[in-house]
């Protein structure tokens, strides 16, 4: 297996090209001087920001800012909750035997194997029915009416993140040495102290990995958010989708470029953390 076929290298390079060409085009066009953004007409140089004109325009775009704010809030809250309950569940599944354990495990696989749209529709149908019933029976009118919004999105994001958190934390728990916990208890620590000072620090890297995955999944989600969102709860992916049907200025590209850079930064940070804990 030592000879390197030039055809293999070529095809590998071609696939990498295929993967990255769109991204390169995207970033490039965020410097486009043409507003209609159909053809690249040279690097823009307008206003105080010069070549970064479109990036600066973003800063003044309230819709973008609100969408960004929503996206981050949703991601943060859903990550916190899903990591918390997911870690506890992973501990339960890895360490304990309890009734309905097999059923629970099967249930946790469901979000992973069904298409996102099915889950999204399900939640939409569910909340529509509940809100309709509650609004009618509690006599809510106007602004007080229950409707889809930030809360429904957050709650749905938690639902699809938890199985992934559990998977990752379980993998980490798999090699965990139980005698460490027994040693702590032997030395006088009760269950809570043992968990806080021995178990948690040792599973922390796994928990953080899970949290990071939950955060990324939430940031990126489109389909489920699409069906569970409402006015005032627009996230960035939804916002971009909406724009695609209208005028696509290089502002969208600028947004995309920033997005890509932000994600790369996040990944970089997480790798540094991983390296630190190894």
């Amino acid at each position: 297996m030592n000879r390197r076929s030039p055809w293999l290298t070529l095809s590998a390079l071609a696939v990498y090209f295929f993967l990255y060409a769109p991204i390169v085009v995207l970033v490039l066009f965020s410097f486009n001087s043409s507003r209609t953004n159909i053809v690249f007409e040279g690097v823009v140089n307008r206003g105080a920001c010069g070549p970064f004109y479109w990036f600066c325009q973003l800063a003044g775009n309230n819709d973008v800012l609100e969408a960004t704010r929503n996206t981050l809030i949703i991601a943060l809250i859903s990550t916190l909750v899903s990591t918390l309950i997911g870690t506890l569940a992973a501990i339960a599944l890895q360490r304990y035997a309890f009734p309905f354990k097999r059923t629970s495990e099967a249930m946790l696989y469901v979000p992973i194997v069904i298409p996102e749209i099915v889950m999204g529709i399900g939640i939409l149908v569910f909340f529509s029915a509940i809100f309709r019933w509650l609004n009618a029976n509690l006599g809510l009118q106007g602004d007080a009416r229950l409707a889809m919004g930030l809360t429904t999105v957050i709650v749905s994001h938690i639902a699809f993140s938890v199985p992934f958190v559990i998977m990752i934390v379980r993998a980490r728990l798999h090699g965990f040495d139980k005698s460490l916990e027994e040693a702590a208890m032997d030395l006088g620590a009760n269950e809570l102290v043992t968990f806080r000072r021995v178990t948690l620090p040792l599973i922390a890297p796994g928990v953080l990995s899970g949290a990071l995955l939950a955060f990324t999944l939430s940031l990126d989600d489109f389909i489920i958010t699409f069906f569970t969102t409402g006015p005032g709860a627009t996230t960035l992916p939804i916002y971009v989708y909406g724009l695609l049907r209208r005028v696509i200025t290089p502002e969208v590209n600028a947004l995309s470029t920033i997005w890509i850079l932000a994600v790369l930064l996040l990944v970089f940070i997480s790798r540094q953390m991983e390296r630190r804990s190894a």
Partner: protein, 365 residues
């Protein structure tokens, strides 16, 4: 009633097994361990020794019976409320803490003032001959060093009893022997009760004041090394401790503490019996190889002629396997005391072996 350091009264433990049925790991065990004793629980894996230890530590609770520590019934008291500490087989040092933090952990649980903790940690590490190791991490230490840290961590709390679960299992032979000496010395120095679990009978014999030999969840015999070795009370103990040759036969008659046993080949053996046995009882006569001699000896009640089937030179001794009539086989060990020893007899030669009645024990099971 004098307070034993640890007492187990009619303790049984049952677990659900792999296919759901109940497995009895410990069956009606009674043990009394005195203050300052070095007490070992010895037996093959699965005999219940580790389970018994864990019930003393509080990691398991007896299904029946009661564990007493200095006269106090432990009931379902969890391990962190018991005045005992454990040294684990895998050392169980916290990998994310330094050596100093590991040793200090138990003291922090006891809410010892910070200044005192530092000093006590220092003293504990000196006691196990690892002074100045406070800032290192467990993974930087060798197996033997980790073992000593585990010891220090347990002893620094000044427990009433120290439990050791096969602590030397992972060490190589030379290190193990050194640590055996260390542990014995430490126990004398600290003066508290050590309860030691092992499957290595040589280890138990060298270190312990008393030994409990266990098999299949029951204690077969409790006594000091001499009692267990010289006067085993059943086949299992005779076979598990040291080497034994067995001669199976039936009781022909008994005079006081000596029995005459008929062997199937027609030969007769005279051996010591522990109790009165009815004529015709099926028994095994146990003899240690080193108690038998090659060549007739005046005064020995038992003398047999056989053929040497195997000669093995083991350095300090030579071991001869002798075939007796009736397809019975014994092993005889002779020390190679003369310089440049050659075997006393060669393979295939006819030889007489002899041993006194006191060297043989009649065992019913």
């Amino acid at each position: 009633m004098a307070d034993y350091a640890v007492e187990l009264r009619n303790v049984s433990k049952r677990f659900p097994g792999p296919s759901g049925e109940l497995v009895t790991a410990v069956k009606q065990v009674n043990m009394q361990i005195g203050d300052g004793e070095f007490f070992s629980m010895l037996g093959p894996s699965g005999c219940g020794k580790t389970t018994s230890l864990r019930m003393i530590a509080g990691f398991e609770h007896p299904t029946e019976g009661e564990v007493y520590i200095h006269g106090r019934a432990m009931g379902t008291t969890p391990s962190f409320q018991r005045p005992v500490n454990t040294v684990f087989q895998s050392y169980a040092l916290f990998p994310h803490m330094t050596i100093g933090e590991n040793v200090a952990f138990g003291l922090q649980m006891d809410r010892v003032p910070k200044a005192d903790i530092a000093q006590r940690v220092k003293d504990a590490l000196s006691m196990v001959r690892l002074p100045g190791y406070e800032n290192r991490k467990p993974k930087q230490l060798s197996g033997g060093q980790q073992q000593r840290v585990a010891l220090a961590r347990a002893l620094v709390k000044r427990p009433e009893v120290l439990l050791l679960d096969e602590p030397l299992g992972a060490l190589d032979l030379k290190l193990r022997k050194e640590m055996q000496m260390e542990l014995k010395r430490l126990q004398r120095e600290v003066g508290i009760t050590f309860i030691y679990v092992t499957h290595d009978q040589e280890e138990a014999l060298t270190m312990s004041d008393r030994i409990a030999v266990m098999s299949h969840g029951v204690t077969l015999q409790v006594g000091n090394a001499n009692e267990i070795y010289e006067r085993p009370n059943c086949k299992f103990v005779a076979d598990f401790i040291g080497e034994t040759s067995f001669l199976a036969g039936k009781v022909q008659s008994q005079h006081g503490e000596f029995c005459t046993v008929d062997l199937p080949s027609g030969l007769q053996v005279i051996a010591e019996a522990q109790r009165t046995l009815a004529t015709g009882t099926a028994v095994s006569v146990a003899v240690r190889p080193e108690k038998m001699q090659l060549g007739a000896q005046n005064g020995d009640e038992n003398q047999f002629t056989g053929r040497v089937s195997n000669v093995v030179y083991i350095g300090t001794d030579t071991q001869y396997t002798v075939q007796l009539p009736g397809e019975q086989r014994v092993r005889v060990r002779a020390q190679n005391s003369a310089p440049g020893s050659r075997p006393l007899v060669d393979e295939g030669a006819e030889v007489t072996i002899s041993f006194p009645a006191q060297a043989a024990r009649v065992l019913t099971e």
